[in-house]
Symmetry: C2
Amino acid sequence: MKVTDQYLLEHHIKPSVQRVAIMDYLKANRTHPTVDEVYNALLPSVPTLSKTTVYNTLKLFAEQGAALCISIEEKNVRFDADIEDHAHFICLKCNKIYDIPMKSKAIQIVTADDFSITQTHLYYKGYCQECKDKK
Amino acid sequence: MKVTDQYLLEHHIKPSVQRVAIMDYLKANRTHPTVDEVYNALLPSVPTLSKTTVYNTLKLFAEQGAALCISIEEKNVRFDADIEDHAHFICLKCNKIYDIPMKSKAIQIVTADDFSITQTHLYYKGYCQECKDKK
DNA sequence: CTTTGTGCAAATTCTTTGCACCAAA
DNA sequence: TTTGGTGCAAAGAATTTGCACAAAG
């Protein structure tokens, strides 16, 4: 998987079996998985994998800007391989998380000259199409 | 403190000594305190207070729309008595959380006709005035 | 060799639960 | 009384830490 190696190197992350597996999983599964979900999904193919490594790795990815750390849910932290600017919506009924494109960089709607902003997180909560009817 | 009683009743919350104390604290301390901070701050004046009650009460406030639940930090949930639309900024160095006014309701910048949105959370991360120089 | 990554187990921290007691209507 | 609120102790869940071992250069 040369392409993932390259992606990691671009973010100053030294590739390893575990790191590549985790990044590949994130890239292939845009479901904003939790640490546990990543761990359980990869365990069959990487039997020696430990949860500590998944924690370490995802944290590293977030620090290096190779992935996004999503905290739309109080309970679990989630991760997203899509590092482009976009918002997230969580359905309070089915708990599914949706990506929402931003119309523009209009996200800079605040008057915040005093701050040096490095990250923007826009979270919506409510009910999705399927759930809002039978609410 | 008749005014706090009234505020709680408006949000369908029956006042009690603990609830009034917690709401008063939130109204007086716009520091987005954690459960622990609220608990420790009130313990001297309400010695029988339990952390369970603080959890229960703040959760109730959030459900009833009497306060806002902020999850800008992965670690702790925080609460805000300001229920008007505004964004939050957290300094990654000093960890202080700032309120940021929104220029407009321009926050509806997404194309999300498929969703019934009930809450919007806009979080910024970066470095505040004091910290960005000595970063 | 030396540095860095991995994985186990234990520890920590935050939050919830179950249940008994207390208070107000 | 009866209902709902409070508080304690225990349980639960998510995450971090310390340390030994393995891998890569």
